[in-house]
């Protein structure tokens, strides 16, 4: 419980830092214009209800990366390059998403099995 509260704080603090560092706030709030991704989501009917939702998704994915053992700094950089669509998908399905990266040993065994089919 305590642990998760600490990691949540780390996430929030580093999220704020990333937003400031990458100028994301400038893109969403200060600059005024509506971003192209938002517009495309709007036209395809996949737009989330508000900007806050995508901010939360960003935080959730970042937190999950930290849970996976990625350092907070790296996690912040990594989520910054994801689109809102990707973030909203990952926020829900990240644990079920396949991650590519096989092992040679397993590969050998499987190759053997494959040869038999």
């Amino acid at each position: 419980m305590k642990q998760s509260r600490v990691s949540r704080w780390i996430t929030v603090v580093s999220l704020v830092f990333t937003l400031l560092a990458t100028g994301l706030t400038a893109q969403t709030a200060v600059a005024g214009i509506i971003g192209t991704e938002t517009l495309m989501q709007e036209q395809s009917g996949t737009l989330s209800r508000d900007d806050l939702q995508s901010l939360i998704a960003r935080g959730d994915v970042q937190e999950k990366l930290i849970d996976y053992g990625i350092s907070p700094e790296q996690a912040a950089e990594r989520v910054a390059a994801l689109t809102d669509t990707e973030l909203q998908h990952l926020a829900i399905y990240m644990d079920d998403e396949p991650a590519g990266g096989n092992v040679t040993l397993i590969l050998l065994i499987i190759l053997l099995i494959l040869l038999l089919r």
Binding site: T22, G23, L24, A26, Q27, A31, G32, I33, I34, G35, T36, E37, T38, L39, M40, E42, Q43, L65, Y68, G69, I70, Q74, E77, R78, A80, A81, L82, T83, D84, E86, H89, L90, M94, E97, P98, A99, G100, G101, N102, V103, T104, I106, L107, I110, I113, L114, L116, R117
Partner: protein, 305 residues
């Protein structure tokens, strides 16, 4: 037969069998091997970083696979997520393009000189072994595919074997392009989404190149013009942005986004007189197209009470 059933590969027909009857396929060379595509043998589990590095180096970016580990690899998951493969491409200021699920598309891209990064399941439905590899060639007559895969450079596989594994990965395939260049089978919406991804990731210069090329290739695509305007705006080129938004408005005078962003570009140039009309139009269209398009009118009123 039992084994085949267990793999989940027994249902549905495979696409490669229909390749010959496809008219789209007739323009292909019989045999292609892009043997200039660099090969990096993967370290344990790290086919994600290795395959990304192959495509990046092919695009002229001298990137070491090790430097990509901290961008896409998740140790505890022993692998890399597809979305992060795309994100890492953006961070290199390159455009990732995810293709449709057609075998013929894959071959066309390779034929056009684009190596294709594919996602495969080397295991079974109930025991998946996820893997990334790079398709660099094929031979239509021998029905073989050539891949940089794992620790093997130029691995040759039958179409059938390859497709079973690729189908296990839901036929996921991506190519990587310098912004402003196109895959062989570029679709406007997918290309613009990829460009918007660069914009979102803060790669404004790269996004500008991509949007700009898109406006030339698909001049009737309003999103391309708005996108171009947006990245110019983000680079504080407000006058250029204004021109792009005006072009977008010619294509669709009822676009709240084009009016709204045009008003902002004009206000940034301190041209409040010219901003009046588009700001009001955006506010009017906001009734139908969304509350977010009221901000320009609100800002105008605050600045010019």
């Amino acid at each position: 037969m039992v084994v085949a059933g267990l793999t989940g590969c027994a249902t549905g027909s495979l696409q490669y069998k229909q390749l010959e009857s496809k008219p789209a396929i007739t323009g292909l060379s019989e045999r292609v091997v892009l043997d200039e595509v660099p090969f990096f043998p993967q370290q344990t589990y790290q086919c994600g970083p290795a395959t990304l590095a192959m495509l990046m180096n092919w695009q002229g970016e001298p990137v070491d696979p090790d430097s990509l580990v901290e961008r896409v690899f998740i140790e505890s998951r022993q692998g890399s997520l597809q979305a992060e493969m795309l994100a890492a491409t953006r961070r290199q200021a390159l455009l990732p393009y995810v293709h449709d699920t057609q075998f013929s598309t894959l071959l066309q891209e390779v034929n056009a000189g684009n190596p294709v990064l594919v996602f495969q399941n080397l295991g079974f439905g109930f025991y998946p072994v996820w893997h990334y590899a790079v398709v660099i060639g094929y031979d239509l007559e021998r029905q073989e595919i050539v891949l940089h895969s794992g620790t093997t450079e130029q691995l040759t596989q039958s179409f059938r074997r390859f497709e079973l594994e690729w189908r296990g990965g839901d036929y996921w395939a991506m190519t990587m392009h310098r912004p402003g260049e196109f895959p062989r089978n570029a679709e406007p919406i997918a290309y613009l989404e990829a460009s918007a991804g660069l914009e979102q990731a803060g790669e404004h210069e790269a996004a500008a190149l991509a949007y700009s090329a898109a406006t030339q290739r698909w001049p009737d695509q309003q999103i391309a013009w708005i996108g171009l305007g947006n990245v110019q705006y983000l680079q504080r080129q407000y006058h250029e942005a204004e021109q792009a938004y005006r072009h977008a408005l010619m294509l669709n005078p009822e676009s709240a986004a084009a009016h709204h962003n045009l008003a902002w570009a004009l206000m940034r140039q301190n041209n409040y007189a010219a901003a009046y009309e588009p700001a009001q139009e955006a506010n009017r269209l906001a009734d139908d197209q969304g509350e977010r398009y009221r901000s320009a009118w609100q800002a105008w009123q605050e600045a010019r009470p």
